[in-house]
């Protein structure tokens, strides 16, 4: 852990609810390269506060890449430039002394800006509410070992379930689609026997909801998978498409 300090210039999007936003420029000085990106923003905010200005609002909680709260476009890239990294896990050693960075909120029609870097991602909850679960009531489950599940399937379901709901896929998509997010949930349950009874209705409802909420259509740009901090694979989108077609043919029978 080498100790090094760097200075940066930040162009940060500032916006109040219901008003137009604009970039403002701040200096981030004497930043330890071992600090995380959010810790760098903390330092900037402490300075803003001490000089009588309002600190930059940004969302965060776990600061270890699992809650999905954080996220912003840094130099145009969701969560910054590193592969498979959330903004809270991006460290300042990835930057050079003298760098100039723009920092702005995730941009998508379905994610209105609330303040500064904070956007409203509740549309993702609505997608889940329309079917992203198994409808089992507490107390009614059979003994856990009743149905063995092939390890490969369990592992692939886990790959899909690793999505943290950050919304970077939506922000990275030129169409503002939520396909990667939705397909991860659909896939998880399509791979498991527990998901089978609601398989057809789940995919149909979730896709319908996605369309209704102002997310765009998928045109196979695959920017989503590049942006995803958890490595969610585009093959889940292919599975969603298969599930969707199957659900419609099943309906017609």
């Amino acid at each position: 852990m080498a100790d090094k300090k760097i200075n940066l210039t930040l162009n940060v999007w500032r916006q109040q609810a219901g008003q137009e936003g604009a970039f403002e420029t701040y200096k981030a000085e004497n930043i330890d390269t071992n600090a995380s990106f959010l810790e760098m923003l903390d330092v900037v905010n402490e300075n803003l506060t001490c000089s009588g200005k309002e600190p930059i609002a940004f969302e965060h909680d776990c600061r270890e890449g699992i809650c999905g709260s954080c996220g912003a476009l840094v130099a145009g890239m969701t969560h910054g430039s590193h592969d498979r990294t959330t903004l809270c896990q991006l460290h300042m050693r990835s930057f050079e002394d003298g760098d100039e960075l723009t920092i702005e909120p995730f941009r998508a029609d379905a994610f209105p800006v609330i303040k500064d870097l904070i956007v409203d991602r509740s549309a993702l909850d609505e997608i889940v509410a329309s079917g992203g679960y198994v409808s089992v009531k507490t107390g009614s489950a059979p003994e856990a070992s009743t149905i063995p599940i092939e390890k490969n399937f369990a592992d692939s379901a886990m790959d899909a379930a690793a999505c943290i709901g950050c919304g970077a896929c939506v922000a990275a998509c030129p169409n503002g689609a939520a396909m990667l997010f939705t397909s991860a949930k659909v896939s998880q349950f399509a791979l498991l026997p527990q998901g089978a009874p609601e398989r057809a209705s789940r995919v149909k409802e979730m896709v319908d909801t996605m369309d209704k909420l102002g997310f765009g259509n998928c045109s196979n740009e695959y920017e989503c998978a590049v942006a995803c901090p958890k490595g969610i694979d585009v093959k889940h989108i292919a599975r969603l498409n298969r599930e969707f077609i199957a659900s419609r043919t099943r309906k017609k029978k």
Partner: protein, 638 residues
């Protein structure tokens, strides 16, 4: 006046819960919808409770300060969840899980509660599998188990290193299902700022809309706090940044006794502090101690690189002191020993507050691939944060605040000393005594939420007399005014120091005097310092912005103001308990070898503190503990 009645059911230990479920009053299915339950918190405890009570037919209002219920702090749990399934056939049973938990808690928990926890543990796994949670499986397709935190049996279920995430997403899915049916009304970005009591009963809450700043009143027939632990009183901890004690503390101010506040858990394997800009600490899973060996140089202030220190100049102090458990001693012992070697000048790294966790022997024995398969993601995470490669150089670790065993005092029904006010999950004190075993917090949160509370809340609701009280009642008016005034006061100080600056100072005070080792002198000193810090806060804090929109500084200030009051009851509790037990180590109470010395004669009780006013001495009530099934004995891990 607080009265403690634990309401432990009669009968043999193994039958208490079954008998109790039969004995409690029921609410007729068609009447349930007439009752409204307010559930604050959407972590494992809150989400599971809200979803289950909604399934049963109650009207549920659910609250979280996050933008979505799925982001609660529970999401970060890595290691796993215990259950007494005994799939590996290694001799586990409900009784053994019960026994281990009571003993692990160093005999400061209530036996009946712990037994119930062990009993329902298996149902939790059944339910979670049915929800489609992708637990780890073996090649034959069966669920995999591992041994965790030094347990002698393999009873831990896990989903890679993301068990908390998967369990929470399961509970969140259940919650979303109920939201879509209209049985749960969800309030996100909505923070509880007071609890409303009328005629001694909990009747509602006051909330602040974190986007608009609006203050609202909510009325219900029962209020459930599933608001997590208070580890962030130390500023630096492994908890998520927004975790706070405000809900529990405000409940305490309304008459709910606070139990065992000094019982906090310091986790031995975290990434050390590296700078004053540091905002939180990162846990490295305890499973690393299964293969990593902990050591420091034998020479003080040794500045050589790890690789330059020959084998015979290394002190594997845990293996030396505890030959039978070695690196797998319980968390409290591992943490305390790390602190001792560092305090004595043997620590490593730039600050001297770190010890090595070395995998070279395991890599030689098992091969790099095997180690990568076991810990690859953890090594990657470590590398990302520190820029060091643990395959090549040993990791550096240091203990960090991780979990709080103390919490609101609850009876067997999980009801606090305020009728109608419940506390579940980490927010209550009930099951872990003075030290929590690994993988048992997830179990407890889900036990409380899915299986216990939904079965005990009816006992209270069934007897409720209907009344015409509504949110214009003066008690609501007053609570709203008090909470609103406090916010205005915070904004009006317009001082020179930031909220974080005060929080850091509080954290350091608590860490030094109420952290891994506590003494009468230190605690008394802290009790003198604290009121001064509180006064400084109220005269010099700088909270920018207004109360009418999203204002994160104001949110933080409101929480830190509560920590500054709450910390006092922690210090008093630590001072009162002049024994050492579990995570609470009093320097005055140790054996000749420097091990924790419990004093069952004087301290086999739960301390429950009654609030008397800011700066006033709280009143201590004691719930005596009885050990019928697990005979009292000093723990020994030699």
């Amino acid at each position: 006046m607080v009265e403690l009645n634990a309401n432990i059911p009669e009968g043999p230990m193994a039958e208490k819960w079954t008998r109790h479920k039969f004995g409690v009053k029921l609410v007729n299915p068609s009447n349930k919808r007439k009752y409204k339950v307010l559930v604050v918190g959407t972590g494992l405890a809150g989400a599971s409770a809200a979803a289950t009570m909604a399934e049963l037919g109650y009207q549920v209002e659910s609250f979280t300060y996050s933008d979505t219920p799925r982001r609660a702090h529970s999401i970060a749990a890595q290691g796993g969840i215990n259950a007494a399934k005994n799939y590996p056939n290694d001799g586990d049973s409900v009784h053994r899980l019960f026994y281990d938990t009571v003993k692990g808690g160093d005999y400061r928990s209530r036996e009946a509660n712990v037994h119930r926890l062990a009993e329902v543990s298996n149902q939790i796994i059944d339910h979670c599998v049915a929800q489609g949670i992708p637990f780890a499986r073996e090649y034959g397709g069966n669920l995999a188990n591992r041994s965790f935190g030094g347990a002698q049996v393999s009873r831990t279920f896990y989903a890679r290193g993301q068990t908390g995430q998967q369990l929470l997403l399961g509970a969140y899915g259940a919650l979303q299902k109920e939201i879509s049916k209209g049985t749960v009304n969800m309030h996100t970005r909505c923070e509880l700022i007071d609890v409303v009591t009328i005629d001694g009963r909990a009747r509602g809450i006051i909330t602040r809309n974190l986007v608009t700043g609006e203050i609202d009143r909510h009325i219900g027939d029962a209020v459930v706090l599933a608001t997590g632990g208070y580890g962030n009183v130390f500023y630096l901890s492994t908890n998520a940044m927004n975790c706070n004690a405000s809900a529990a503390w405000r409940a305490c101010k309304k008459g709910a006794a606070f139990a065992n506040p000094c019982f906090t858990q310091i986790h031995p394997t975290c990434i050390p502090v590296h700078g004053d800009y540091q905002s939180k600490l990162t846990l490295m899973s305890e499973s690393l101690r299964n293969d990593g060996r902990i050591w420091v140089p034998k020479k003080k202030d040794d500045k050589r690189l790890a690789a330059e220190i020959p084998e015979d100049e290394r002190d594997y102090y845990l293996e030396r002191k505890y030959p039978s458990f070695g690196n797998l001693v319980p968390r409290d012992l591992a943490s305390r020993n790390a602190k001792e070697v560092c305090d004595a000048g043997y620590g490593v790294g730039p600050t001297g507050d770190a010890v090595y966790l070395d995998f070279s022997e395991a890599i030689d024995r098992l091969g790099r691939d095997a180690i990568e398969a076991r810990y690859g993601n953890l090594f990657e995470m470590y590398n990302r944060i520190t820029d060091d490669d643990p395959y090549e150089t040993p990791m550096m670790i240091y203990p960090a605040v991780h979990y709080t065993m103390g919490g609101l005092w609850v009876d067997y029904n999980l009801m606090t000393t305020v009728p109608g006010l419940y506390a579940i999950g980490e927010a209550n004190f009930s099951d872990h005594g003075a030290n929590r075993l690994g993988a048992s917090a997830l179990m407890q949160g889900l036990a409380d939420g899915y299986f216990v509370l939904p079965n005990t809340v009816n006992n209270y609701l069934a007897d409720l007399k209907r009344d015409s009280i509504n949110i214009s009642h003066p008690a609501f008016e007053e609570a709203e005014q008090t909470a609103a005034n406090k916010l205005e006061k915070l904004l009006a100080v317009k001082g020179t120091r930031t909220v974080d600056d005060f929080h850091r100072e509080l954290g350091l005070l608590m860490w030094n005097e109420c952290g891994m080792a506590r003494s009468e002198v230190g605690l008394k000193k802290a009790l003198e310092e604290l009121p001064k810090l509180r006064d400084a806060f109220w005269s010099d804090v700088n909270v920018p912005g207004s109360g009418d929109d999203l204002n994160q500084a104001l949110e933080k200030a409101n929480r830190v103001a509560d920590f500054l009051e709450f910390a006092e009851v922690m210090l008093r509790d630590a001072l009162d308990r002049s024994e050492s037990c579990g995570g609470h180590f009093r320097l005055e109470s140790q054996t000749e070898e420097g091990e924790a010395l419990r004093d069952d004669e004087s301290f086999a009780y739960v301390s429950a503190w009654e609030y008397k006013g800011v700066g006033e001495e709280p009143v201590l009530h004691k719930e005596p503990l009885f050990f019928e099934e697990v005979p009292l004995s000093q723990r020994s891990y030699k």
